[in-house]
């Protein structure tokens, strides 16, 4: 017992971990041996009740979980720890495996420390690249390192890193853990940095667990409820992915995947049937045009996404409505600081003002906008134009009194009627033909709780429940695969070896279908047989 007091970071990790276990994300139990060792020490020193008390101090999302599940997981934790204490020297040889995977292993949402884990042969390489160090830190020891982005050299975070050379690691392969500060920007930055390291890719659902299984690292016969956990994990990830794909990006991705599948099917048809059957003229040329157009679209999207990434590390909420409805007052109320100047004069706000706030546990970028009206000075008109524009790509719009739906898209819209204090108690209420709305008085604060609750619901729908999924991870995944798709498309040169060109399209399609689902050979054959008259 060298160290009876575990360092603070590790306790935090334990908290994150426990939380994510309870929220059914099993990466959490995939904690590294080193962290475990430290924990075990603390457990041995203070007894297992230590964990329990800490858990009760854990953030609010815990309290929503029901008791039996918690008890089950505790039994399992205890078993796991005891087993670790008794059988330290297990460890089968790790078979060589393909790619190196990474994932955010701790739960999403507000937490002090987030744990990002990698597994696979390039783990050590990734660690060296991110820490800009020639040597790896000592195995299974926590060391403090400055992480920086390998592309820009920009520092990301000062973090604890742990290096677990295989086979003595959770998955049996080389593993690295980055214990970074839990802010969304940091987590997202590190995930993106990892994604840019060659040979690394975001983990698929359950992949860490599978690798651990495959390498004989998990002896889980006695663990009750494991199947449930795994099911919940993959289910949560699937739901998360679906949710992300519900929006505009999903629509785009599906469109791209469709285009690409068709282009690939036509190239494949040209390969498989071009010489025996008569395909129409210009099959390849058409595919070529489509692929080039797709390349341009993807490139533009990615450039845009990168710029947006830093700014928006959360859902975007815009307050819009007619002048003098009290939009700025609402923004100031929500952000609890004077972001915008407020005055009784209509048209006080002339530009889009953005402020990051924490709304009901979600990181939110709140925008105050100019009141929507016609026929004013050029400066304010520009403000109105910007206000309309910002509504076009934002997730949630809070419209203040009387506003028409600002755009015809299917954006989420909360209609808020401000200045409810002006309604006389005995006088007529708001018009009955109004759509569902909320009453609020920025002056008295009446109705604020209702608004916050409604916002929470909307944000949960947009971001996903912070306790079940990880939008950040999904976003990093999106970017990784879109970039991979774009890179693959750049290798598409149908004038040379067509088999190589088709391979480029296959790889590109593989990346897109990781995001959208589907992607089998049968789809390709369906298109070929639908579009071409081929046969014997």
């Amino acid at each position: 017992m060298r160290n009876s007091k575990p360092p603070l970071a590790v306790i935090c990790t334990a908290l994150c971990q426990a939380r994510s276990v309870l929220s059914s994300i099993p990466y959490s139990y995939c904690q590294s041996r080193c962290a475990r060792t430290l924990k075990i020490r603390s457990h041995v020193a203070r007894g297992t009740t230590f964990r329990y008390t800490h858990l009760h101090r854990a953030p609010a999302s815990l309290s929503t979980l029901h008791q039996p599940m918690e008890a089950k997981i505790f039994r399992w934790w205890a078993g796991r720890i005891l087993r670790l204490c008794t059988r330290r020297s297990s460890g089968a040889a790790a078979p060589g495996s393909g790619a190196t995977i990474f994932a955010l292993s701790s739960g999403q949402g507000r937490c002090g420390i987030a744990v990002i884990r990698t597994s696979g042969p390039s783990s050590g390489h990734a660690l060296r690249i991110l820490t800009a160090a020639r040597d790896l830190p000592p195995a299974r020891h926590a060391s403090l390192r400055l992480l920086s982005d390998p592309r820009s050299g920009e520092p990301l975070d000062r973090a604890l890193v742990l290096w677990f050379p295989g086979p003595r690691s959770f998955t049996g392969e080389d593993c690295v853990e980055f214990h970074v500060h839990g802010g969304p920007a940091v987590v997202s930055g590190v995930l993106q940095a990892l994604g840019s390291v060659p040979g690394l890719r975001p983990a698929e659902a359950g992949e860490f667990t599978r690798r651990a299984f495959a390498n004989g690292k998990l002896n889980l016969t006695e663990v009750e409820g494991l199947a449930d956990l795994i099911h919940a994990e993959t289910e949560a990830q699937r739901r998360q992915a679906l949710r992300q794909l519900d929006g505009e990006l999903g629509h785009l991705c599906r469109g791209w995947a469709e285009t690409l599948t068709k282009a690939l099917a036509h190239v494949e048809a040209y390969i498989d049937f071009g010489e025996d059957d008569n395909l129409e003229e210009g099959v390849l040329e058409q595919a070529d045009i489509e692929v080039r157009a797709l390349e341009v679209a993807l490139g533009a999207h990615l450039r845009d996404a990168r710029r947006g990434q830093r700014l928006r590390s959360g859902a975007h909420v815009v307050v819009t409505g007619p002048p003098n409805a009290g939009k700025s007052s609402l923004v100031n109320l929500l952000s609890r600081k004077p972001v915008s100047i407020v005055s009784p004069e209509p048209g006080t706000t002339r530009d889009v003002l953005e402020t990051p706030v924490d709304l009901a546990g979600f990181p939110v970028l709140l925008s105050d906008t100019a009141g929507l009206r016609e026929g004013v000075g050029p400066v304010e008109q520009e403000g109105v134009r910007r206000a309309r524009e910002s509504c076009n790509f934002l997730a949630t719009v809070v419209a203040s009194v009387g506003a028409q739906s600002p755009s015809d898209s299917s954006q989420r819209l909360l209609l808020v009627l401000n200045k409810s204090d002006l309604l006389s108690p005995e006088g007529p209420g708001p018009r009955p033909d109004l759509p569902p709305h909320l009453l609020l008085s920025c002056l008295t604060g009446e109705g604020l709780d209702g608004l916050l609750e409604a916002l929470r619901k909307e944000l949960a729908a947009v971001c996903g429940d912070p306790s079940t999924g990880s939008p950040l991870l999904t976003r990093a995944r999106h970017q990784h695969h879109l970039q991979g798709c774009l890179d693959a498309l750049s290798h598409y040169k149908p004038s040379k070896d067509l088999a190589l060109a088709a391979e480029a399209l296959r790889v590109a399609r593989g990346h897109l279908t990781r995001l959208t689902g589907g992607g089998g050979t049968e789809e390709i054959l369906d298109i070929i047989f639908r579009d071409f008259c081929v046969g014997k």
């Binding site: 599978r210 795994i230 494949e268 067509l498 296959r506 008259c533």
Partner: protein, 692 residues
């Protein structure tokens, strides 16, 4: 030597000059008159011949049972072998020392590699074959194969016995009963009945039972299989009419000439039997709106097209082409049937119209105005067995030691049949000698893709090989089939001759050596420019450029490279095949590296075997949805990899299965420890006995 028994007739060696193996009557069995073999193959088509010879090559005493010996090696449909995807299969069959590639090198009349300009990974070796020559050469080969006996006879029933306890399956096949009531016993039985199971020929509105025009179908056998509980489906296929050669006006049609030089199918051949200038041309013509009109006006006379039996998504017949893609001109290839044949095969004109309408339709096609139809086109409907009922070694789940290969599994095409035949023959033989099965993975060959698709996904249309079905297409090329399969075939199956094995070994080591030499030669790009002026190497990089990278350029081949750097490259140009293969390896080098990583991942999943006796419907300690259970129950995947490819099996289900496998393995390991000690003791006892 002839041995006559009722209608079953031992035919031997009337064609052979060499010593023919004597028919063995198992002298040690209780009934000395009942013949006993290791392997019986039923059917003498493309699957049957490959299966029988493969089993014999593996050292099994094999009996080939066929309706008629003179139809062995019959090409019942198109007079050609190979093509895109199919050519790949033939190279793989050849790599396992199968017959069809070698026979095609001796029987072709027009050799052509398709897709020449699309990259070596998708080159399609193809040839028009002389039907008569193919059959002759095949029969010569079959009747000269050591350990292989051929007998005429129709199989009516299977002899079934108690199952072996260590394998799954409700019973075990131990022989067959012929139509005349006689029996033949064997350790393994392979069914390659093609379209003969309840075969039905359709022309116009006429239907009559037949496996092929002029041949009786197998009805008793189909009933036996159904009674055993096999899920039977029905498929349809067809063949075009044959036209008299001298009635065609070739002079107005597009002529297609063969390649010069011809590329042989077999790794063991440097050339084919016939010079390019002696080969026959093919001709191309097109359909026209009058053809569409005849099809559309006579649908009521065409029961094959109307039948509900599922046809393929692709267009097998001119009727389906006209119906699904109206107002288009469709290609018709006029292919020679042989050197001295006066028939032409109009590829693309499969049809089932009444005979007189077939003639009417053909005569409105350009060049065929005066054409005479010698044999009408016809459709065939036949039973196939859902291939999810067989394992990747092609043994049935239900009946031990019973193997299916060819069209019976729902495939179409000679090459697909031959590929399955080789695998079935090898495995039937390995089963007799109690060796582990020989399974080709998806990552190893087109054969693997074919069998994996069939056994995990099943098929609802005649399954045809396309290169687009193959994920690792750039790795599984026609040029490297020997390295992928010959070495394994020699070591794991024993179906490859020593000579072929040594040749493949030499090629493998030469390639490896060549690639490493090419990697080691590095010059600056400007020096390369001086050495090989015709190539435009991008000068953007100041890094030295490897010879392997220079070889990637289209304009460069090993000859030009060896001219530039004679030492040490000159020796690699001496063998033309080696030089060509080095060029191909260089072309795909960068992509192959990535593909190898993926392949490793797939192979890892495939290494995780699922227990064979697992009952998915009732198993308790694994949490699976009912839907997933049913899917797994029906397909019975052998590995986690195969299970993950079944549509509808979720990642969660896969992890649950994985957990189940791991726990079972552990349990087994624990159990095995004690028997092992027993075994040791027994061995020790034996040793003592011997010493005594």
């Amino acid at each position: 030597m002839f041995y006559l028994r009722g209608c079953g007739r031992w035919v031997a060696a009337s064609f052979t000059k060499q010593q023919f193996p004597l028919v063995r009557l198992s002298s040690d069995s209780a009934a000395p008159r009942t013949p006993h073999f290791d392997v019986i193959v039923i059917g003498g088509g493309h699957a049957g011949t490959e299966a029988a010879t493969a089993a014999a090559r593996c050292g099994s005493r094999t009996l080939l049972l066929t309706h008629r010996v003179d139809t062995i090696g019959q090409m019942s449909c198109n007079p050609s072998f190979g093509g895109i995807g199919k050519g790949h299969l033939m190279r793989e069959v050849d790599a396992l020392d199968g017959l069809c590639s070698r026979i095609c090198d001796q029987s072709g009349v027009h050799y052509k590699v398709l897709n020449r300009r699309k990259g070596p990974a998708v080159w399609g070796l193809r040839a028009q074959i002389d039907r008569k020559l193919y059959k002759q050469n095949m029969q010569k080969e079959i009747l000269n194969t050591p350990l292989l006996t051929v007998q005429e006879g129709a199989v009516e029933d299977l002899i079934l016995t108690e199952p072996e306890p260590e394998h799954t399956g409700k019973c075990r096949v131990s022989g067959v009963v012929l139509v005349d009531g006689s029996t033949v016993y064997a350790e393994s039985v392979i069914l390659t009945t093609g379209t003969f199971l309840r075969g039905m020929i359709v022309i116009g509105l006429e239907m009559h039972p037949a496996g092929r025009l002029g041949d009786q179908p197998s009805i008793g056998l189909a009933q036996t299989l159904e009674k055993l509980g096999f899920v039977v489906g029905r498929l349809k296929t067809g063949t075009p009419p044959r036209i008299a050669k001298d009635s065609i006006n070739f002079s107005i049609l597009n002529k297609q000439t063969p390649d010069n030089p011809s590329v042989p199918f077999s790794f063991t051949n440097e050339t084919v039997w016939i010079k390019p200038e002696d080969q026959l041309p093919c001709y191309l013509t097109y359909t026209n709106p009058r053809v569409d009109e005849i099809v559309l006006n006579n649908l009521h006379l065409n029961s094959h097209v109307k039948e509900t039996t599922r046809g393929p998504r692709y267009c097998p017949s001119i009727e389906s082409k006209v119906l699904r893609f109206p107002n288009r001109l469709h290609q018709v290839w006029l292919e020679p049937e042989g050197m001295d044949s006066d028939l032409i095969y109009p590829q693309g004109l499969s049809m089932t119209l009444p005979t007189e309408l077939q003639e009417k339709m053909i005569t409105c096609i350009r060049g065929l105005e005066k054409a005479k139809v010698i044999q009408p086109g016809y459709g065939v409907q036949y039973d196939y067995l859902d291939p999810r009922q067989i394992t990747p070694s092609l043994e049935t789940h239900l009946v031990q030691r019973l193997f299916f290969a060819g069209q019976i599994n729902g495939t179409t095409g000679y090459e697909e049949a031959a590929a399955q035949g080789v695998i079935a023959g090898i495995n039937a033989s390995l089963r007799v000698s109690r060796k582990p099965p020989f399974v080709v993975s998806r990552t190893e060959g087109y054969i693997g893709v074919l069998i994996d698709d069939l056994t995990t996904l099943g098929t609802s249309e005649p399954y045809r090989m396309f290169t687009s079905r193959v994920e690792f297409r750039l790795s599984l090329r026609p040029d490297n089939a020997d390295i992928r399969l010959t070495l394994r075939g020699y070591k794991d199956a024993g179906c490859v001759s020593q000579q072929r094995y040594e040749r493949a070994c030499w090629m493998k080591s030469s390639l490896e050596e060549g690639i490493s030499v090419l990697k080691s030669i590095e010059f600056s790009s400007s020096k390369w420019k001086n050495l090989i002026p015709e190539v435009s190497i991008s000068t953007s990089r100041s890094l030295p450029v490897r010879a392997l990278d220079v070889l990637k350029y289209e304009e460069v081949d090993m000859d030009s490279l060896a001219k530039a750097v004679p030492e040490p490259l000159k020796k690699y140009t001496k063998c033309r095949e080696l030089a060509e293969r080095l060029k191909i390896e260089a072309t795909y080098e960068s992509v192959l590296f990535h593909q190898l990583q993926e392949i490793k991942g797939v192979q890892q999943d495939e290494a995780l075997q699922l227990p064979k006796d697992i009952d998915y419907l009732t198993i308790r300690d694994v949490s699976l949805s009912h839907e997933v259970r049913e899917k797994l129950h029906f397909s019975r995947p052998q590995t986690i990899g195969a299970a993950s490819r079944i549509p509808g099996v979720t990642p969660a289900a896969i992890i649950n299965l994985l957990r189940f496998v791991k726990t079972t393995q552990q349990r087994q390991a624990a159990m095995n420890e004690s028997p092992k000690t027993d075994q040791c003791l027994r061995n020790a006892d034996r040793l003592q006995e011997r010493q005594l």
